[in-house]
């Protein structure tokens, strides 16, 4: 769709007012029926526009679109950099890198992410953490967790494995043991396979174009 938000907004309001005006001609504005017309027209118009936008949005956020990458994005280096044209932070998808020591085919990657999403739901992650900013506020936001410097500065030396993905998978299987502050994540009995799938999901999620949220993630000189 080529229209911007202002065109859509003005169009929907004008449509409600014009159609309603046609139907209320001759009605007294103090009669309930006058406002009944507005109620029906605004509900129908706004809901129709929501449907149109829904089709457009679903197309633009499917796997492999410009905003939501293909599952095979886990085979690439991912970053989060300021985009001087858009004037906000954007995920960057860089050169290829191995993930858990291998390159994942499209089918394998899709299976991994499906598993990861199922694990995230079955353990109620969202009732402590936020994902894309939605959930509960008892634990950190996970939108860009893959890019969090703490994995390399604190957790990796503690666990002592070679790569970031292995660090995260090991930590997820025993978070209580490797506590980072007084609020400890409980052990949610993740198997090794499940932990890998979650790490894959976190890596994928960090590559979604979230319109710049969370702003300057991991770039604050005040903290790291």
């Amino acid at each position: 769709m080529k229209f911007g938000w202002l065109e859509i907004t003005l169009f929907s309001i004008v449509l409600v007012v014009v159609i309603s005006a046609i139907f209320v001609r001759g009605k007294n504005w103090l009669e309930p029926g006058f406002w009944g017309v507005f109620a029906i027209v605004s509900s129908l118009v706004m809901f129709s526009i929501l449907w149109l936008l829904t089709f457009d949005t679903l197309k633009k956020i499917s796997f492999g679109s410009a905003r939501v990458p293909s599952p095979t994005v886990i085979n690439h280096k991912i970053g989060f950099e300021y985009d001087p044209d858009k004037k906000r932070y954007m995920p960057t998808i860089g050169e290829e890198e191995l993930f858990f020591g291998k390159k994942w085919s499209e089918q394998e990657a899709t299976q991994l992410l499906t598993k990861g999403k199922l694990v995230i739901q079955s353990r109620n992650c969202m009732d402590c953490h936020t994902l894309l900013g939605n959930g509960a506020y008892f634990a950190p936001d996970l939108t860009k967790s893959w890019l969090d410097p703490k994995w390399q500065t604190m957790i990796q030396p503690m666990i002592g494995v070679a790569t970031k993905e292995e660090t995260m998978a090991k930590w997820l299987q025993n978070p209580e043991y490797y506590g980072t502050w007084q609020r400890r994540m409980p052990n949610l009995k993740l198997t090794e396979e499940e932990a890998k799938a979650v790490v894959g999901y976190l890596k994928f999620m960090s590559a979604i174009d979230t319109n710049g949220f969370p702003d300057h993630f991991g770039k604050s000189p005040a903290i790291f």
Binding site: E31, L118, K150
Partner: protein
């Protein structure tokens, strides 16, 4: 005292719904107190009843008790509106028993099983793991089935009474929308952006659109019952409210689409329409204050009247002002997913929905316990009214401060990392806020106990007098 045989069967069913509602309200508060203490002492019940489990029980029991309360309101007023017993009331009673049993099973599974393996079976039997709609899939299907029976009760009764107009017309369409939107939340997608897109259809289009309209209907009925407001006035305002609620709230959905991967046009559409979402709430205040003024505050039901006025203001301040505070994208970029959302959620749900349910129950109690023409009043309800409102403000204020601290320290300055999160949570403004919140939470619970005592006794003592 009136004999209960004077009531329609449907109204007796309403009382059943309200009893379960008030019990679930208590459960909501207990789990709320546990999680508020876990913010202060994170080792409390660690491993046995983790924060995530108590939190999902806190929010799910809230959704359910509010729904039970609304359904009670519908069953209470429907026979009065249609002047006949509800059609298919036997089915309605079975639906009530099935719904209550299903809720008990879901709660027990949440408490005892808690989590499952990462496979589809867990989503069907244990939890769907999506905030607010964690109920497993079998329960989702059950909820839709039960709602369809309730919808049949409502529609068939109105149809037979030939009263498909005005308020009842709005009720029918709104109930259909409530059932329809719930179905949008019943599928799995590995793509989290698609998942959250549909998830908000349920959560937003319920809480910020269809529920608001349902409350408009219920509040209209209460105003007619306790103030004697004319039907024409109520209908006129209701249409205006529907116009404004759906006119702003449907595309206001966009304010949840800012950061989930959805296209940029949602920043503008969501920001614009959600900024207008307080308009219907202003209309509701004008409506309530106007009616109260016209009738010179003369009411036959003091507690219901006070709760309905509190509803108008609570809805506007909680949903309108606290919502507007962080709905524009330029602010939400930093405040999204902080305690500011929790502050808004607490005040809005209390103001808009809890108050409506309490007004409904008091309205019914008068009919159940008093002779016609008597005024329902007393002393205890006043303390409960003041106490609950003060306690809720006392919960909201520190959450707002905590949210501000997070927005500032964790998001704007710290860049939202793990360490930035810890820094904000360890900040004195945040830690002290959690203690204040817990204190007012205890006060809220004490007032809840007094509320139950008042609901059980009001109208039975000599505190009432003839008009």
């Amino acid at each position: 005292m009136k004999e209960s045989k004077d009531l329609y069967e449907s109204q007796k069913l309403a009382i059943g719904y309200w009893i379960v509602a008030i019990c679930l309200f208590g459960a909501q508060l207990v789990f709320g107190l546990i999680i508020s203490y876990q913010y202060i002492q994170p080792e409390f019940l660690h491993k046995f009843l983790n924060f995530s489990i108590c939190r999902l029980l806190h929010i799910n029991s809230m959704i359910l008790w509010l729904l039970f309360g609304f359904i009670g309101g519908i069953y209470w007023f429907l026979p009065l509106e249609t002047e006949r017993e509800v059609v298919g009331i036997f089915l309605g009673k079975i639906a009530f028993i099935v719904l209550t049993a299903a809720v008990s099973i879901v709660v027990l599974v949440f408490l005892l099983v808690q989590i499952g393996k990462g496979e589809m079976l867990t989503l069907w039997l244990v939890t769907e793991g999506r905030e607010y709609i964690e109920a497993p899939r079998w329960a989702d299907i059950g909820i839709v089935a039960v709602f369809s029976i309730i919808f049949f009760n409502v529609f068939a009764s109105i149809w037979k009474a030939k009263k498909l107009k005005g308020i009842l017309w709005v009720l029918i369409v709104d109930l259909l929308a409530i059932i329809g939107f719930y179905i949008a939340g019943m599928f799995f997608s590995p793509n989290i952006s698609v998942d959250q897109f549909w998830w908000w259809w349920v959560v937003h289009l319920w809480v910020e659109a269809t529920w608001e309209v349902l409350v408009g209907v219920l509040v209209g009925w209460v105003l007619m019952a306790v103030l004697g407001t004319s039907r024409k006035i109520v209908e006129g305002w209701l249409y205006l409210e529907v116009f404004l609620i759906f006119g702003t709230g449907i595309l206001g959905l966009g304010h949840h689409y800012f950061w989930i991967g959805a296209p940029e046009y949602w920043l503008g559409i969501g920001g614009f329409f959600s900024a207008l979402e307080p308009l219907p709430l202003v209309a509701m205040i004008v409506h309530a204050v106007y009616d109260a003024g016209v009738h010179r505050l003369k009411t036959i039901n003091k507690p219901a009247f006070f709760w309905i006025v509190a509803q108008a203001f609570g809805n506007f301040i909680g949903a309108g002002v606290w919502g507007f505070m962080h709905t524009l994208p330029q602010i939400n970029l930093y405040s999204h997913g902080t305690q500011l959302t929790a502050a808004h959620g607490h005040l809005a749900f209390f103001g808009a929905y809890v108050n409506t349910n309490l007004a409904l129950i008091y309205t019914a109690l008068q009919r159940i316990r008093l002779h016609e023409g008597s005024i329902l009043d007393g002393t205890l309800w006043k303390w409960v009214f003041i106490g609950l409102n003060l306690a809720m403000l006392g919960i909201t204020a520190p959450l707002t401060v905590a949210g501000f601290t997070q927005t500032f320290v964790e998001r704007a300055v710290g860049g939202s990392t793990w360490q930035a999160y810890i820094d904000a949570q360890s900040h004195p403004w945040f830690k002290e806020s959690m203690i204040w919140r817990m204190g007012f939470g205890i006060m809220f619970f004490v007032c809840y106990v007094l509320l139950v005592a008042d609901l059980l006794t009001i109208g039975k003592t000599k505190a009432t007098h003839q008009q």
